[in-house]
């Protein structure tokens, strides 16, 4: 299922009660892009992501997947293109890694369908891509945070999804696992998969991403190539920092 896919949010305004969280956001994700979404705590990153996934009802604006509104799409059809990768959470029951990844075949088989040999192959390939085939029979509950994150990405790949939305994928990982994960994401993007992830690490955006998007007070204040978007000035504005204190170092500074 190669091809060019596109998830496009336009004019998103959203609030909880009296509080306006998003006030007119445009954001796009295409196949092959690796996009970092930056913003301080409470800036509305998660809300935006939930709306783009079709998890919450839109109040104003549109979210379209290949030109079709995500909210009214058939959930199974949507899941074959668009996947959500949550943080590597703890599950209550000790499913094996293989069973967790095979859940990614639900959109293909349907709720009452059985897994075919082809579905199992699909899951195996997804685990191989994420270099976790060796963990296949281990209980998901016994893995480290980094391994769990890889399993959840593999599940998204098993879905056959071409666009992935990831919620702070590196937040629970140590330095080494962060770098390994970023390298994987880069490789996925090189394979034509589009990845949008929220992060609190501007340096990650600069080191691997094809685009960075800054969300501040409910609006995108900058969106473009990371080296253009992530500057000392934009970060100072985004995180409300005093430019006089040293907080950002890059070659040449």
């Amino acid at each position: 299922m190669k091809g060019d896919h596109r998830l496009c949010a336009r004019g998103i305004r959203h609030g909880w009660g009296d509080r306006q969280v998003l006030s007119g956001v445009d954001l796009e994700l295409r196949s092959g892009e690796l996009v970092a979404l930056l913003g301080r705590n409470g800036a509305g990153k998660s809300t935006l992501m939930r709306l783009m996934l079709g998890l919450d009802r839109l109040q104003h604006g549109t979210v379209e997947l290949d030109g079709r509104p995500v909210g009214s799409m058939n959930a199974r059809e949507r899941a074959k293109l668009l996947a959500y990768v949550p943080q590597g959470h703890l599950a209550p029951f000790p499913y094996t890694v293989r069973s967790v990844v095979e859940l990614g075949r639900l959109p293909a088989t349907g709720l009452f369908g059985r897994l075919s040999a082809g579905d199992r192959d699909h899951a195996t390939r997804a685990m191989e891509t994420m270099a976790i085939a060796g963990l296949a029979e281990r209980p998901y509950t016994e893995l480290s945070g980094g391994e769990r994150q890889m399993v959840l990405i593999a599940r998204a790949l098993a879905q056959g999804a071409r666009l992935l939305l990831m919620d702070e994928p590196v937040s629970a990982l140590d330095y080494g696992n962060q770098l390994r994960l970023l390298a994987r994401l880069e490789a996925l993007a090189a394979d034509g998969i589009g990845v949008l992830f929220t992060t609190h690490h501007p340096d990650h955006a600069r080191s691997v991403c094809s685009r960075a998007s800054l969300l501040d007070h409910g609006a995108i204040i900058a969106d473009g190539p990371p080296e253009a978007v992530i500057t000392k000035q934009s970060l100072a504005a985004l995180y409300d920092l005093d430019p006089a204190i040293p907080f950002w170092s890059q070659p040449g500074d």
């Binding site: 949507r78 899941a79 959500y84 029951f93 000790p94 499913y95 069973s99 859940l103 990614g104 639900l106």
Partner: protein, 341 residues
């Protein structure tokens, strides 16, 4: 925790064989002992003429009129409680949940007590227990829907509130009941017993219970996805609200039926899913039928104990509680690490 594939594949057929063996053993055991050969002769169409006619009549009465309905009731009740317990634990993402979580037991307990208080005939008492069980869960679900959009945590809260309400009503019913006649009947029924299960009622309950368990098994993969969290299940294309409602409806229906047959039988619905998970892993398409069979085996065995320990029958609810706690401790020792502790 690598499981050997063959054991895991053979587990369901093996459990079915074990269930059959348990049922046969239970048919033989009792104050009037029947040998397995004699039982076979009784069942086998060509074997019946080998038994003396006066003994044949007695065996027919004991096996078909007395023991089989009761054992069938034990199978149905054990299977229902365990299958719905497994489904509830998954749907609420909580391994400490039992089928009574949403107040079905409290509702049914009050319904039965009310029926006995009004001196209704037994069928109506059972119907009232069944209806009140459903009503209690309906109220819990209504509270969850009004205040929290039907989320699991609000369902639990709704269950606590309705259980509280119906327990208070039950206390009221006990308080006003005739202390020499009605009160002992209510208390005895609440302890859980299979001695009141009558054949027509068991027959009526069989098809709905098997259908209910079937629905839970069919929703097994959806339950697996649901155990990862609502958002993830939704993005995997699972209609979360409908699946949860379907599971709660099916589990509540069969739990309410069990309470109407046998009163309160505790611990089976909590413990058995853990045993099944140890044997077959957490995948619900296999976990639910395995739980149903293990629950049936345990309850038939517990009923054997209830009948056999002394000349006076002990309420089976007491047996399951006494056995459930050590089994649970043994299981706890094995599963602890999976609970995110």
């Amino acid at each position: 925790m690598r499981r050997s594939g063959t054991l895991s594949i053979a587990a369901l057929p093996l459990l079915a064989v074990a269930l059959l063996a348990t049922v046969v053993a239970a048919l033989c055991i009792g104050r009037f002992a029947i040998g397995p050969g004699e039982l076979l002769a009784l069942i086998w169409p060509g074997g019946r003429h080998a038994i003396a006619s006066d003994r044949l009549a007695m065996l027919d009465t004991i096996v078909w009129q007395i023991r089989l309905p009761r054992i069938a009731a034990a199978v149905l009740v054990g299977a229902s409680l365990s299958a719905s317990g497994a489904a509830f634990q998954t749907v609420f993402r909580n391994p400490l949940v039992s089928p009574g979580l949403l107040g079905v037991g409290a509702g049914a307990g009050f319904g039965a007590a009310l029926g006995m208080l009004l001196s209704l005939e037994w069928t109506l008492v059972q119907l009232l227990a069944f209806g009140m069980g459903l009503l209690a869960v309906g109220i819990a679900a209504g509270i969850a829907r009004i205040f929290g959009g039907g989320s699991p945590i609000m369902l639990v809260l709704g269950g606590i509130l309705t259980a509280g309400l119906f327990n208070a009503l039950l206390s009221l019913a006990k308080y006003v009941a005739d202390p020499y006649d009605q009160l002992p009947a209510i208390v005895y029924w609440l302890m859980g017993t299979l001695s009141l299960a009558d054949p027509p009622q068991v027959e009526r309950a069989t098809v709905p219970i098997l259908l209910g368990i079937g629905v839970l098994v069919l929703l097994g993969r959806a339950l697996d996805a649901l155990s990862m969290g609502d958002d993830e299940a939704r993005t995997l294309g699972v209609p979360v609200g409908q699946v949860r409602a379907g599971v709660i409806a099916a589990a509540t229906l069969i739990s309410a039926l069990t309470v109407s047959i046998a009163g309160m039988i505790g611990w089976i619905g909590l413990v058995v899913p853990h045993l099944a998970r140890l044997l077959l892993g957490p995948g619900n398409t296999r976990l639910i039928p395995a739980s149903a069979m293990i629950g049936a085996i345990l309850l038939v065995a517990a009923d054997g104990l209830a009948r056999g320990i002394s000349t006076v029958e002990i309420p089976i609810g007491i047996i399951t509680e006494l056995l459930g706690i050590p089994i649970f401790l043994a299981v706890l020792h094995r599963v602890r690490r999976g609970w995110g502790a």
